[in-house]
């Protein structure tokens, strides 16, 4: 897998992500498992999410953050991938969460 054919988003202005307003998210996670469950009270939707998504949500529950901020917090755990690649992947993941309505973004 590589970067061929895919544009890396140049975040200018930067997208700041947050949990969809008006609703909190409920997380369920069990030790050592790769997957977790998230529930959104407003829509009543329940999703099975992977570990990265879970950690991203936990960060956003504290405060809004950009993909770069998130990278700074947890980027190290992704091993030897280049920084830009990881940030691009995070933006991708956040777009996925956006699509199902779990997060929003605003520009700063």
């Amino acid at each position: 897998m590589g970067l061929e054919g895919r544009e890396i988003e140049q975040p200018s202005p930067q997208r700041y992500w947050q949990i969809s307003p008006d609703t909190e998210l409920f997380l369920a996670h069990w030790d050592n498992e790769e997957e977790a469950v998230v529930y959104q009270p407003g829509s009543g939707d329940t999703y099975l999410i992977n570990d990265i998504a879970r950690r991203v949500i936990i960060i956003l529950q504290e405060s809004s953050a950009s993909a770069v901020d998130i990278y700074d917090r947890i980027g190290a755990s992704f091993g030897a991938l280049p920084r830009q690649e990881i940030i691009a992947q995070l933006e991708n993941l956040l777009s996925g969460l956006l699509k199902v309505g779990l997060v929003r973004f605003h520009y700063r």
Partner: protein
Amino acid sequence: MKVSELSQDEIRSRLQSNGISLVIGPYTLCVQSKLNDVAEGISLLYADYPLQEAALFADFHISIESPTGLRGFLKPQVNFAFDGHVPFKPLPREQAVPLLEWGTNWCIGNYSHQFIIIHAAVIEKNGFAALLPGQPGAGKSTLCAGLVSRGWRLLSDELTLISPYDKCVVPVPRPVSLKNESIDVIQEFAPDALIGPVVRDTNKGTVAHMKSPAESVKQANIPAIPAWIVFPRYKSNAPVTLMQRAKGRSFMELAEQSFNYNILGADGFKLLKHTIDNCSCYNFTYGHLNEAIDAFDSLPIPKC
């Protein structure tokens, strides 16, 4: 007073007038029917169930009747009515007794939001409950029937009810529905078990109901703590395998198998999470009932 204390005539006469009120777990079910096979079915399958004598309040008022008219004459049918309202298309006349069971499932599954309702069989031993979630073809009913014929208590064969107050499984023991080959399997496995009339050509194939063990009915007011969630898969002649499975996926599976997870909202999420937290989740394959029962008997008892 129990159903077995009434004569066949009395059962028939009550069914044809004000109805018979059966106490099934937390529910009082008032049944009316002019059909003889329904009277016989109740007399057989519900013999051990308490009756509510002066039936003042019933949770569900149902009736099983044959519709009149030309259609009924050409192709005899039977209808399930919930308090005078018919929610389903009629079935062929000979399916009256299975219809009583399916209709009752519908009532419980549709309205019981004081519990979370999961489509799973559930049985108990030593105070702990094992849930067998019901993917079609999984063989959960056969397994359930086998287990309750070997010392496990029947809590339910189709609808697991968990209470948000004490987080325990609420028993609602009812006739165990058996399909196709399972009927013969169970008849052989448990020759003492009472199996009701066999009905062919239903949407589910050939169907019969096994009477719930009397002890299970007697203990219907004793809840059980969920300890194991076992996803069964029957595979002919396969050896028994019991493998731990991820809780995340098990959660999603149970939510999918729940009739009212959506309706309960955040409370449903929390109750299901609590249940998963406190249960061991397994994938289970079996080919022989005896081996399956041994495996269940050896399930690790949770430390409290």
